[in-house]
Amino acid sequence: MPFKLLTLLLVSFFFIIEPAGSQTLYSITKSFVSFHSDAPLELISASSKELKGKIDINKKEFAFLVKISSFTGFNSPLQKEHFNENYLESSLFPAASFSGKIIEDIDLSADGMYTLRAKGNFTIHGISQERIIKSIIEVKNGLVNLKANFTVMLAEHNISIPKVVHEKLASEIKVEVTAVLSKQ
């Protein structure tokens, strides 16, 4: 009887440890997110190196998050202030995020270049939109390099453009993301 009990304990123990999956979770170590507004009268761009993100290559799940206040650049310090205060309202909605699942059934544990579609909830300014974002992923030497370009429509996220700055702010913002992920 005690032997049986011990086996049960051991087996259960293995089952508990096994699915933790720390081997398949990748986290961002280096990142660069930039956005560009290309309007007739003004070009605005800003970037952040503080993108956080995780990809579980086994489950094909991912999550990315960047603090709005971490963006720097802009054409003037005041523009940055207005970006935070009036447009993105970063005190109410501190971060932009994207999380969901990878559509393609690709084994990311093998080295190679992959073009993937990531489907999930894209949140900016407190408003979520379901988006599919294409990204290029290169797996090499245990590192995952990620690259993605997409656009954000300000109107879809309830960010209104006052009439006086219509010519200075594009309604469609281009976003570029590059990131390096490594095993945790």
């Binding site: 304990l9 508990i16 956080k52 990809i55 579980d56 489950k59 650049g73 700055v165």
Partner: protein, 301 residues
Amino acid sequence: MKAKIFLISVLFITSKSLLMAQDTTDLMAMLEQEVIGDSKSKTTYATATFKTTRLINGHTVENVGKGVMDVKISHRFGKVNNGGYELFGLDNATMRMGIDYGITKFLMIGIGRSTYQKTYDAFFKLKLLRQSSGKRRMPFTVSYIPTIAYKTLRDNDTSRKNYLSSRLYYTHQLIIGRKFSEGTSFQLLPTYSHRNLVKFAKESNELFAIGIGGRQKITKRLSLNAEYYYQLPDYKLTGTSNSLSVGVDIETGGHVFQLHFTNSQGMNERTFISETTGKWEKGDIYFGFNISRVFTIGKRK
């Protein structure tokens, strides 16, 4: 014994499923935890305590950014109680033209010229403390502003010798400000002012005053402002009253428009703090506006 084994296995199975549940945790929750961790180990500074560097007549804790030039044009019309003949004061106006410039994030300088008593003024504003949260917590932003004013209005009194120094006025102010919430900010301004020349021998050359000001945002781009300067009675010049102003800020991109009602006609520290003659209760109210337009001169980061 069998019951015991059953109990243990149930225990293990439930604990295992609990762990499984934890394993599928939202990756997002993990990221949010990291962000919370970051916000504790990093310092976040309060920004946009006020819309611009002036509240109405007086300064705010705000500085312009490095390499930013702020051109300010301010008008005060005549007294509202002048009546319809002068279109409630709009027939007359005094103005101040000024330029502020940010040398660093913490230091800005400014010059101006007012038509009221043909006065030139110059100042610098040094940020001593910044309101912050996170790793380093500081409840207030504190700035120091010394201002010098030079009155060039010709003196008709030829019976005495007129020195250049008798046209000079000095003001030292500390501004202690706090952004209480996204929309609400207040500030206190202990003020010391010195005038080299006074009209009567019994009048004091010194002045101690304390200012209080605040703003409440109504919408993202509109805020309601008020400021009041209390002069300590022992130092008050005869016939003057304390300055009280109320107004709104309207912000549109690089411009800030400020519209207000005040009982002060002058627009530099020594005139509105110590030489306000209007009385609200008598209707000696001046309508006025400030327009601020910022230009970025320095290389952008």
